[in-house]
Symmetry: C2
């Protein structure tokens, strides 16, 4: 826990005991978030969750959403929820990669599952048990609930065509999660900036390229004004999961009714966020083509194969370095090996 959080914890500990317990059966979840609520799919789900909790509970369970940095900085939410400085937070597990190596596996896996398969593993495989177990084992006092999911991201924004490994070398690029480790291994200098800091960095030339999210989200951040080559498919994030973290003592004290309300609001949010994410990308892409001079690019088969073999190497290394990473990856891989029989037979081709 760093000094800011300790100060915050001290400053708010008294206030919280009053503000979170509005009465014997009332609760206010004060929820800082990692993504601006203006970002559709990333930030937009959580105000909906807050609204529905209020409606469903008749006002006994409220959530107050704080924009990124207003109460806690995006990358400090986990620590703050765990310490009890705040009682909840909305973010994505991969932001804790520096502290918990396995955490990005619960955000997005390169060449990993799409939304349907990911949710299948989480809710009907061992995913949720491993997800909660990860925080428990790492000593964080939090209860975790998946609370949004989005369909594929784009592979990122570049100032030029990327046709070979050589074209990647030496690039300075914002990149998230395990995909970032893949890019790093391919000679890219990686930084992980939160959403709000990316555009200024691109504009100043501090970075040459960036990935962030889906086209409609990236559009809000204005990347297309600086870099015109937008690559697909998003091999690094075919689906991304977002989490609501609740301080575990607070969770344990919640009534069964409030727990059920929170669980259902988050599960409903999975549906809503997936649907919203799928609904609004094509217009953003079309506008990028028609008005913004953006080139919609597809990775060549060779580049996709390069990313895949590099990811396989990264996965082996990460599993060798961290036992829990290995446990999760092995479980997910076993699930996916089985799922393959279904996947390869059940669906129509997409093109």
């Amino acid at each position: 826990m760093n000094k800011t959080i300790i100060k915050l914890a001290l400053a708010t500990s008294l206030a919280l005991s009053a503000s979170t317990a509005l009465g014997a059966d009332k609760l206010l979840l004060k929820t800082p978030i990692a993504f601006s609520t203006s970002l559709p799919g990333l930030g937009s789900p959580i105000p909906r969750v807050a609204e529905q909790l209020n409606l469903m509970s008749g006002g006994t369970l409220k959530m107050k959403v704080y924009e990124p940095g207003k109460l806690v900085k995006p990358f400090e939410i986990l620590g703050a929820v765990s310490s009890g400085a705040i009682n909840s937070g909305y973010t994505t597990a991969g932001y804790w990669a520096g502290k918990i190596p396995a955490s990005p596996l619960f955000s997005a896996v390169p060449f990993g599952p799409e939304a349907g398969e990911y949710m299948a593993w989480l809710y009907y495989g061992n995913g949720m048990e491993l997800y909660q177990g990860m925080y428990d084992q790492a000593g964080y006092n939090v209860h975790v609930l998946p609370c949004a999911i989005i369909a594929p991201e784009t592979s990122g924004w570049f100032s030029k065509e990327i046709n070979s490994k050589d074209d990647l070398k030496g690039l300075k690029m914002r990149f998230f999660g395990l995909g970032g480790k893949v890019m790093q291994k391919l000679g890219v200098a990686i930084s992980l900036l939160p959403g709000g800091e990316i555009f200024p960095a691109l504009e100043k030339g501090a970075i040459d390229a960036t990935e962030f999210s889906m086209p409609a989200i990236d559009k809000r951040l204005g990347f297309h004004k600086v870099v015109k080559y937008n690559y697909f498919p998003g091999w690094h994030q075919q689906a991304t999961v977002f989490e609501l973290l609740v301080n575990k003592d607070v969770w344990n004290e919640m009534s069964g009714q409030h727990k059920a309300l929170t669980e259902n609001a988050c599960k409903a949010s999975m549906t809503d966020s997936l649907a919203e994410g799928e609904a609004i990308q094509f217009e953003a892409m079309q506008e990028n083509i028609d008005k913004n001079g953006v080139h919609i690019m597809q990775w060549s088969d060779e580049m996709l194969a390069l990313f895949k073999t590099t990811w396989d190497e990264v996965a082996v290394e990460e599993a060798a370095n961290d036992a829990y990473f290995k446990t999760v990856l092995d479980d997910l891989t076993e699930f996916r090996d089985g799922y393959k029989l279904w996947k390869e037979n059940a669906f129509l081709p997409r093109k």
Copy 2:
């Protein structure tokens, strides 16, 4: 409204005013269902919805689920909910095809959207407005909520390989929805039997072949004991939506809190049912291969093209016969034409 329903309406009208209004702020939804709760993905979602409604509402909003035929027959649920004979029901819109030609478009569309795209159109396109508008315009007094969705079905079960149009001709087959109209045009004699009646019909030879649902669901019904060729992909139902119908007067009288609880329980059920459906198919398929002597078959490109061109003909005919069908199909088609740009770029290949 047929005589059975009228009798039922008379018999239960007094009882209902007591049983559905437990008090000023209490409600019991008596919910007959079209699919046995023993069928995972089809019937299993609704007992979960009932359980969660009870937990979330602290017992003020309850749902009592009635197995198929116990209170109302599967194909009579819409009429019974509309008349007020019962206050709710769980089924799928395509069962009303005989009364409302556009209804199957809200169950499953041949060569139509997968779950993500379908939910995108329903919740963030014009889908929900058209869905409710369909019942309103057809004179049914119901409020509709999508309350479950499943990933692809299999294309059906046959006693022999189907390699050409000639192999289809003269088959007697159970088939649902718009896919059934395609098969009919290809010379198949179609019947629409509810789940429980299919196996006996296969066993007696009243039908030669059947489609019903996903492998784990079909397994429960035992089709593999009679017919050994299981075809994929399910071109006729890449995703299937299930609906909770609530009598509109009952819905309008519900408090905002109870409405929000029902809406969120159903949206959470969309996540759950999609995840469950995706999670449990591969084991069923593997067991079919290993223990049941089932041949997992893929349609040839020629057969898929035949189904596609025949569906295009059916769609034109249905649209010419019914204005609302045309309205819905045109809207969905426009949405899908846009979505294509996203779909063809964003996803990794499945094989």
